[in-house]
Subunit: 227 residues, 2 copies
């Protein structure tokens, strides 16, 4: 079997498992989002600020992936919501099997929102469906405006781009307009939010996006069930 | 053949080719460095500043890798040294075959230094030997101090870490001391330089490092040849 064939087989197996996860989320009307970005774009900090703003009774859980360390799970666990670290041990992306295994002892009936924080990598996670409703790509203002053009697959597959670290705009040679233009060149009509987890700017719009997306999903499923 | 076996075979084939490249560099006493980092850590800007500071007659050439676009080659070509873009078309790393193919019409006798700028990815490029003398990993002050712990393979394999964007230290919650401590936890004794390509701070030490490393390599080869 050639390398390409093996790769295809692995991706097909992943796809089957991802569809099973998607169906489980659908039955429970859970919104699952898959956060992807370069290392250090601010995924974990954005999630800390997100959990801080959640109602105490919010039905949210998080899976956070890294090659090594439990650092992110520790950072996220302090808000009292269920969190698990997925340590890939060197693998450059999460796959559906890892997600399924880490969900095993959670009761999905208790959730409305499942957030998966992928390994920091703008390339490989774009090939692995985790059964999510939406990929969300973060791009920070310190990374350069050309990243959507250089990593088009990720920006094409993501439903939303969150431009992070906008508090640093005065100190970096970065045009938010050009970055957004580049994102929409590879993904016309892409939704884009701008946030600073440090100052809090844009966080309300981000919370609204999550809330509305979850409602939308829930209503869609209910309509299908009635249909 | 299982996926692991195929992966091993691909890596073995890469290793054979990498050793051939290494031997060619040795014969010509060329220093080859392989720059790796997250997307947007400042590899290309550091190389622009490096070329700007080179003597006009410097015997240097560059290969720069990206999934898509010729942007980086265009940025680097304006200094008058030979530059080629390697477009991987989606592949998350450079391999030895890509390097060999792009070197084909260059005369290695004309070079003292070959710089390879890898795809922006802190994971996959660590597995692919390009025949380089040294991997150099860049970490920018906007990425967080924990990256060496989360991506240990890359920091373990790199001879030198260049901490970039130190001009942003006043504006980001980043401890350079902790980042260096973390790098040396995964790679004891690792060499570390701190630079700002924007203000120029640290660039002389970086140029010195390259110069000395090239001399060292050249003298080592001459000693072996005399031996």
């Amino acid at each position: 079997m050639s390398r390409v064939e093996v790769e295809k087989k692995v991706l097909n197996e992943n796809q089957i498992l991802a569809e099973q996860l998607r169906e489980r989320y659908r039955q429970q009307r859970i919104l699952c989002v898959n956060l992807v970005s370069s290392p250090g774009s601010g995924k974990t900090l954005l999630l800390e600020k997100t959990l801080e703003r959640m109602d105490k009774g919010a039905r949210v859980a998080l899976l956070t992936g890294d090659l090594q360390t439990e650092n992110d799970a520790k950072r996220l666990a302090k808000f009292g919501f269920p969190v698990k670290q997925i340590v890939t041990g060197g693998t450059c992306h999460l796959d559906a099997k890892m997600v399924e295994r880490h969900l095993a002892d959670w009761n999905l009936e208790d959730l409305d929102l499942l957030v998966v924080e992928n390994v920091g990598n703008l390339v490989c996670p774009s090939s692995y469906d985790l059964g999510e409703d939406a990929k969300i790509v973060l791009l920070s203002t310190t990374e350069g405006e050309d990243k959507p053009l250089k990593y088009p697959s990720m920006f094409f597959k993501a439903e939303l781009m969150v431009l992070t670290k906008i508090d640093l705009l005065p100190y970096v040679p970065f045009s938010a307009e050009l970055a957004k233009e580049n994102a929409r060149r590879v993904h016309p009509g892409m939704e884009i939010l701008e946030v600073s987890s440090t100052t809090g700017e844009g966080l309300e719009a981000w919370m609204d996006w999550l809330r509305k997306r979850q409602q939308q999903k829930s209503e869609k499923v209910l309509t299908e069930l009635r249909g």
